[in-house]
């Protein structure tokens, strides 16, 4: 039952195309930026820029709350109608969480895919340079060390998931307060 609602929420997320594309792109960019900041914080040479990391975390939190707010606020009538036909608050919550985590997952996949391609491209470039004798073997090895380590990537994913949960927790009171009678009122 929960899995079915989860899969339907993915369908609903994909079909609200503009919102889906806009937030997936914003999440992707923000994830890339946050990963970079984590990388700098954990493995950077000089002093890590903590402020940038904090700004990226706060931005993620704000964006997650905004997304949850948009999903709930712009679909009041739909949520109220679902309540009229017997959906419980927990069912609605499953649908909303499913939608938000799906966007996070897709954005993460795009970001990971992009990083893999950048790394592969850089490796190829420096390999060619090394074969042509333009750079030394030591430089080649240094340059082709993965651009990003795995931990900053995982830390970013964890941070995004936590902020999604926070967004839902904050917005859940809106779902609880929304009475099914709204389904009759909104359009009149």
């Amino acid at each position: 039952m929960g899995l079915r609602l989860w899969s339907k929420s993915i369908k609903l997320a994909m079909r609200s195309r503009r919102r889906f594309i806009a937030f997936t792109l914003m999440y992707t960019v923000l994830m890339g930026w946050m990963t970079w900041n984590f990388q700098d914080f954990l493995y950077g040479d000089g002093d890590p820029d903590v402020l940038l990391l904090i700004v990226s975390i706060v931005s993620t939190l704000i964006l997650s709350i905004l997304y949850a707010w948009i999903v709930i606020n712009y679909r009041k009538n739909e949520i109220a109608t679902l309540k009229c036909i017997g959906y419980k608050n927990s069912n609605i919550r499953t649908i909303i969480i499913g939608e938000l985590t799906w966007v996070t997952f897709i954005a993460f996949m795009i970001m990971a895919e992009t990083l893999i391609h950048i790394t592969a491209g850089a490796t190829y470039f420096y390999q060619q340079q090394s074969l042509a004798g333009n750079i030394s073997a030591a430089t080649y090895l240094e340059k082709t060390t993965p651009i990003l380590n795995i931990w900053p990537v995982l830390a970013t994913l964890a941070m995004f998931l936590v902020s999604q949960i926070l967004g839902i927790v904050i917005m859940y009171s809106k779902i609880l307060k929304l009475r099914p009678i709204v389904a009759l009122r909104v359009l009149k």
């Binding site: 036909i85 959906y87 608050n89 099914p180 359009l187």
Partner: protein
Amino acid sequence: MPEVMIKLENVQKEFRLRGNIIRALVDINLKINAGEFVVLMGPTGCGKTTLLNVMSGLDLPDDGTVILDGDRIDRASEERLSDIRRRKIGFVFQDFNLVENLTALENVEAVLWPGPLRTKEINNRAMSALAKVDAHERMNNHPKELSGGEKQRVAIARAIIHKPRIIFADEPTGNLHHAAATQVMELLKSLNKEMGTTTIIVTHDKNLVKYGTRLVEMEHGRIIKS
């Protein structure tokens, strides 16, 4: 003795509007038997939609008792009301209230998604409900691709998929032209006969009275004829 589907005793409901108290329902006493097709009529603002909301558990009365198919719902929790709505009630709205991002078939299926039935069974039931209202040919269309009459037929299929004991319809023909309105009313009437589902329709259209087995008239929050 006929089975009582809905029983209201001394039901009161007030609203506050800009400092004024509006008595939407005043001492309502009403019994509706199983299988009846009730047309609830009255002028705008007489309290008929409020009465429908109270009878269906969408709104709670300030005072009085509401019993729906043996369940007292006037003080029930939202979780309990959700459960009752899922098992016993079907709704048909004036504005259809279909989910725009779902197809006609999915809109009908959506009622059963949170339940224990297998997906295939849900799909079969939804197709059968759509066939019953003659909307099966449009099952893969989204609401925006349907006419008003088609949307309302899909909404009716959604209201009957879980075989409810009672259907509440709030101005079901309010947004339809005459031909589509007639079709929708004929459909509700035939479903009432065929399935024995108690049907309660709120309307201000006197032309719909002929479809009912019983007329309940309201004025100023009171029942003046039942």
